[in-house]
């Protein structure tokens, strides 16, 4: 395990780090604290998510990485007892400002979930739903175009072009997850959040989704929570390590995986715990 983390993974990251350029801050968390009732789940998290990069969040179960991710599009609002303090900005605007409408926010910050969750409707309807409720198109032909381009961007179009009216739930797990990504893209967000998007998929489907994430980086800012260190190493440019509700460290992915500053990160990526 040690060998693997230090050699193979690090080798791959090296190449990618070379191509990297400095990016603007897309989202920023400042002193973010999250409480579930009495229990505090996140402690003073300060974290930047850079534009057109993939930011991975790793850490053992219950460390708060998913909680932080769900703060970024205020999905935690749906939980009654959840309370968020501090500031999270999207393009320098505080998304927790009372004047912010969550619907608008979520249209800009899309989300893909752990378990593929297509609507029990047709593939076309799955994609078209978002653009329709946000009034992105006026005509049917425009809508159809969005459906096609979204599916193309998600790399699913060739596989499903003959059965757009078949139910989305009838696809394989990997296809369903790419359908969910296409559905998120269709709303034309600027940020896409992914909560362990490959944990329910087999290795081949995982590889396809990872490839897709890498392509999407061109046009979108992506934050991904993952349990797989290899995945974080493969797809991300920056990695944030969480532990017990604290952000342990955040840095270039190659740095985190080759030369972490914190002992806890070192232990985690080498498989000593978590």
């Amino acid at each position: 395990m040690d060998m693997y983390a230090n050699n193979t993974v690090a080798g791959k990251i090296g190449e990618r780090a070379m191509a990297e350029k400095s990016n603007a801050v897309k989202m920023r968390g400042e002193n973010v604290n999250v409480f579930y009732g009495e229990k505090q789940a996140l402690f003073d998290v300060n974290l930047d998510i850079l534009e057109n990069q993939v930011t991975a969040m790793i850490g053992p179960s219950g460390c708060g990485k998913s909680t932080f991710l769900r703060c970024l599009n205020r999905m935690n609002d749906t939980i009654d007892v959840c309370r968020v303090t501090g500031k999270i900005t999207l393009d320098d605007e505080n998304i927790y400002d009372p004047g912010v409408d969550v619907v608008e926010l979520r249209a800009r910050v899309g989300m893909v979930f752990q378990k593929p969750n297509p609507f029990p409707k047709s593939i076309r309807e799955n994609i078209a739903y978002g653009p329709r409720i946000h009034g992105l198109t006026r005509s049917k032909t425009d809508l159809e175009e969005i459906v096609v381009t979204s599916l193309q961007k998600a790399g699913l179009f060739e596989e499903v072009k003959d059965r757009l009216d078949a139910p989305g739930t009838g696809l394989s797990g990997g296809q369903q997850q790419r359908l969910c990504i296409a559905r998120a893209i269709a709303v034309q967000p600027s940020v896409i959040l992914m909560d362990e998007p490959c944990s329910a998929l087999d290795p081949i489907a995982t590889a396809k989704v990872e490839e897709l994430i890498d392509e999407l980086r061109e046009n979108y800012t992506i934050a991904i929570v993952t349990h797989s260190m290899q995945q974080a190493a493969r797809v991300s440019q920056r990695t944030a390590m969480f532990h017990l509700g604290n952000l342990v460290e955040i840095d270039q992915t190659d740095k985190i995986f080759t030369n972490p500053e914190d002992k806890r990160t070192q232990d985690y990526i080498t498989g000593r715990y978590g």
Binding site: F113, N117, G130
Partner: protein, 451 residues
């Protein structure tokens, strides 16, 4: 085999010996499993037996109510008696009562007997006409009023026979029982047999049982379920139209929007309690609120419908909340995640997925309401109603009866012919209930979704 005193003796004993030889514990376990299975079988068998017994007794008693005995007679509609002025004025024709029509039928019967030479010794004129139902003149009158041009001619008319004569052909009345009965004599039964031989008397399917209104105590042969079926249908319409939207709206609010605090907790507990409140309590409430306070008419489907709606609401709310809860949270997250508002999430995604469950709950609630009797007794729906309620919405305020109340009503009456009618009404009620429950099962099967 093993020394039980050594370390961890149980483990040793367990792993030693053949799997095919059963120890005491295994034998005991098998025996208790067998006992439980037999007990279960006995319980199921008892239930089936009770159901079969119930259905057989109802069918044996009630099926005959769907058949009725008639005498076909050529009745001469004497213009001199029915329309003295001869101008077929409907107003004036209405003034002619059934007392004028009765002799026409009696005459037709006497004529028929004379023509065929049927012996009537020992029977007075009154005895002969006694085999005809007292309802027959009224039926003839309504035929004439429906088509006054028939006056002056002769019509072939199916005359309803008296309940005892009808009972004779259904096995309820025998020669022996007729001896003791002051309402019917064996000679009358013989006359009926003679008429049957002459081809005038026959027993056929009884549509009137489903369409005719109730009849008085002395005319069980004419009693029908028409008003009761209409009344029940009106009430079900009201219950459906009110309790479905109110129940679903309340459930959606409680399940999706309401903050979880003490007030909503109290409401939840009380809804569950409301489902267990005896139905007669709702009747008292209906009497006090809808009739005494709001001044709505008694015996009206609108009051019955409102009371039954109150009764059905808890059932629908509980079923709807269960159906909403059963929609996986991932669907909600998916919709919220692409920026659907809470309302959009619920109405576009959650509600359609919960719809089969909601409909099933609603139909079962309606079926309960259809069979409910006690609250209707209190709001006066037990009244004797012969007038059909008019078409809705005015008809909601007209007096009407209801199926279960009609059953209750008929079982209170003296004439044994009403036992047959009551059982027949139960069969009709059961058919409706089976159809409704079947629909609920069908909906559930048809729209059941897997995620």
């Amino acid at each position: 085999m093993t020394d039980m005193t050594t370390a961890s003796p149980a483990a040793v004993a367990r792993n030693a010996g053949s799997l095919l030889e059963h120890g005491d514990r295994t034998r005991n376990r098998h025996a208790s499993e067998r006992r439980f299975r037999i007990l279960g079988l006995i319980a199921v068998g008892f239930g089936i037996l009770a159901l079969v017994g119930l259905l057989t007794s109802i069918l044996v008693n009630g099926v005959s109510s769907f058949r009725q005995t008639y005498v076909t007679l050529d009745v001469q509609l004497d213009e001199a008696k029915l329309d003295k002025t001869g101008n077929r004025n409907t107003e004036e024709l209405r003034k002619v009562t059934t007392f004028v029509y009765a002799p026409l039928i009696e005459k037709a019967l006497a004529q028929f007997i004379e023509e065929r030479g049927i012996a009537v010794e020992g029977l007075t004129k009154k005895d002969v006409s006694g085999i005809i139902s007292k309802e027959a003149p009224a039926s003839l009158r309504s035929v004439v009023l429906a088509d006054p041009s028939k006056i002056g001619g002769t019509v072939s008319f199916d005359v309803l026979t008296d309940g005892r004569i009808d009972g004779y052909y259904k096995g309820r009345v025998t020669m022996a029982s007729a001896e003791l009965d002051r309402n019917v004599s064996p000679a009358q039964l013989k006359l009926a047999d003679a008429l049957k031989d002459a081809g005038a008397l026959n027993t056929r399917f009884n549509w009137d049982f489903l369409t005719a209104p109730d009849a008085s105590d002395t005319r069980p042969e004419a009693a029908g379920l028409g008003v009761a079926i209409l009344g029940s249908a009106y009430m079900m319409l009201i219950v459906l139209a009110l309790s479905l939207p109110i129940g679903v709206a309340a459930s959606i609010y409680l399940e999706e929007f309401a903050p979880s605090n003490r007030i909503t907790d109290t409401i939840e507990v009380n809804i569950a309690n409301l489902a267990a409140v005896p139905s007669i309590v709702f009747g008292i409430l209906g009497l006090a609120v809808f009739i005494n306070y709001a001044g709505l008419p008694q015996s009206a489907p609108v009051v019955g419908g409102l009371v039954l709606m109150l009764m059905t609401l808890p059932t629908i709310i509980i079923a709807t909340r269960a159906a909403l809860k059963a929609v996986p949270p991932s669907i909600r997250e998916a919709a919220l995640g692409i920026g659907a508002s809470k309302m959009q999430t619920i109405f576009h995604h959650v509600l359609p997925l919960a719809a089969p469950g909601i409909l099933t709950g609603t139909i079962i609630g309606l079926a309960q309401a259809l069979g409910e009797t006690a609250p209707l007794l209190l709001i006066g729906m037990v009244a004797f109603v012969r007038e059909y309620p008019s078409a809705p919405p005015e008809g909601f305020f007209d007096p009407a009866s209801a199926l279960p109340v009609q059953v209750y009503n008929w079982t209170q009456r003296g004439d044994p012919a009403f036992v047959e009618r009551a059982s027949g009404a139960i069969i009709v009620l059961l058919i409706f209930l089976v159809i409704m429950n079947g629909l609920a099962i069908l909906l559930r099967r048809r729209f059941e979704r897997r995620w």
